[in-house]
Symmetry: C2
């Protein structure tokens, strides 16, 4: 982006998209948003964003398009040939999809964009709503280096870190691999804390050992599933906020789908998926560390918040 390329069409003004678009506005970009959900559009207008009535109106004069949508189908529908974004934007417009979607869908979008001569990136994020609001997201990016170079200032306005993971789809691949590790380590940490309770080992003692030993992981040192040892972790506020179990289940489904396609045996990943698919039926909006309550219930122990 040069200083002249400052106009952005932003599709998807939900919990993540709205604060991201607002940060672009704050950074001096001209942002025109679009969201088919009336309440989302209204919230965006209330936040000072210009919101178009139609997708085509949103892309008028845009130098770049960003999409932050719930699924691969939503993304492909939004960009589709004919009525979609691909045919309404000007030649050379940069296309950036920040949604977390299937690699096959991400690559299909790259092909669609490439066929129309548009530079494109898959750029899923980590950091959640907190990171989106604070402008501290990490972007995991797949696509051509020149496209990334053009997008760097845009990412810098919404986040604090960009990792170029490789070609088309590599950003999605990195995110699903990371989150599969995260899910497995969180469940293992939660199992360990419940086991410790049964063995009369205090949560603080287990934390003191694990946080400084070979079991150390982000799931325990940043997102500890018991209240106390890490005061900022969601366990201290009844698992409100944080990274929802429904989103973790979605990421694990993407990983399982990719693994099946590549004939990769992910035994731990499958076990984690089954556990989060089950959690979504009862506590879809709680932080994913709420898995500890489900483990307590299955174990017949009496402690726990009774949330899950």
């Amino acid at each position: 982006m040069t200083t002249g390329d400052r106009s952005i069409a932003f599709f998807g003004l939900g919990n993540m998209g709205l604060p991201m678009a607002a940060n672009l506005l704050s950074a001096g970009y001209a942002v025109r948003g679009y969201d088919p959900v009336p309440t989302a559009a209204a919230s965006a207008r209330a936040a000072g964003l210009e919101v178009a009535e139609t997708p085509a109106e949103a892309t008028i004069g845009a130098d770049a398009v960003i999409t932050m949508l719930p699924s691969g189908q939503h993304v492909l529908d939004a960009y589709q040939r004919g009525a979609g974004i691909i045919d309404t934007v000007a030649n050379g417009t940069l296309v950036v999809d920040c949604s977390t979607i299937d690699i096959a869908d991400a690559r299909a979008l790259h092909e669609l964009a490439g066929g129309a001569g548009l530079p494109s990136l898959d750029a899923p994020v980590s950091g959640g709503v907190v990171g989106a609001t604070a402008g501290t997201l990490t972007f995991m990016v797949g696509g051509a280096p020149e496209a990334l170079e053009a997008a760097e200032p845009i990412f810098a306005a919404m986040g604090k870190r960009t990792v170029h993971c490789g070609d088309a789809g590599a950003g999605q691949a990195a995110k699903m691999c990371n989150n599969m590790i995260l899910a497995a380590s969180m469940i293992a940490v939660a199992e360990a804390f419940v086991l410790a309770e049964a063995l009369d080992l205090s949560p603080q003692a287990l934390y003191d050992v694990v946080s400084t030993s070979s079991g150390q992981c982000w799931a325990v040192t940043a997102n500890c599933p018991v209240p106390g040892p890490v005061p900022t972790s969601p366990a201290n506020r009844d698992f409100q906020g944080g990274f929802a179990t429904s989103l973790m289940a979605k990421d694990l489904r993407l990983a399982a789908s990719a693994a099946a396609g590549g004939e990769v045996d992910i035994a731990i990943g499958r076990t984690a998926l089954a556990i989060y698919e089950d959690l979504v039926t009862t506590v879809p909006d709680r932080d994913f560390s709420v898995v500890i309550d489900a483990i307590r219930r299955r174990s017949g122990t009496t402690e726990g918040t009774g949330t899950a």
Copy 2:
């Protein structure tokens, strides 16, 4: 220990016990060792240790006894009433078991010692042969605070960190919980790297994302299962050295046994146990990160060292 309490009987002079005993000797303790395996006894003598011909001879004049043995049965046999350590040591001798054993066995030893008026600690270690040799072990300790106070100088001669985890058995509980998390996170990390290969995401790119994101864990940042990103990890030397799969399988069996006893549902822990039980049949002595080769083989991918 006062300066007068400097005589230690050390039972079990294997890969871990010998360097630990040698460090006590270097720190100025009078150490008399014992090991029923002739080659172990010979190696200890070659290292300058005094090695007794019988268990009873080893404990003569000892202010403290340390055991570092392969299993709970070995430990209970060594201490048993009658011919064992409990009845040959002087009143008030400190009993420290550094073996990694079942909590029930550890508590049985505490009861045995308590019944004979002997202060006792369970104090399993982390750090492996490297840590035992360098004197940088971590001791996870269960038992009375006064017993720990007496043992502190001894631990300081063999390690760099001591965590008092709680009452009898708490050291064993902390170690098995930590290692269950370690096993699960390592398998998840290995699955992620194999999945990444199938998705054309480079190992270095995945490392760059995971090591600084929510998937961060010791298994990737210290013991990365692919060569390259972490030059000191066992994957760079064909999984030689490090923490053997047989020891990980043992620790997971202890965790599964404790979980069954406490009716705790450890779904991820059980999955990890099955995977390591399988690995022990082919590569018992390789570092536990060798699990990545087994995942590659099961996945039908062509990369890998062919080790597992």
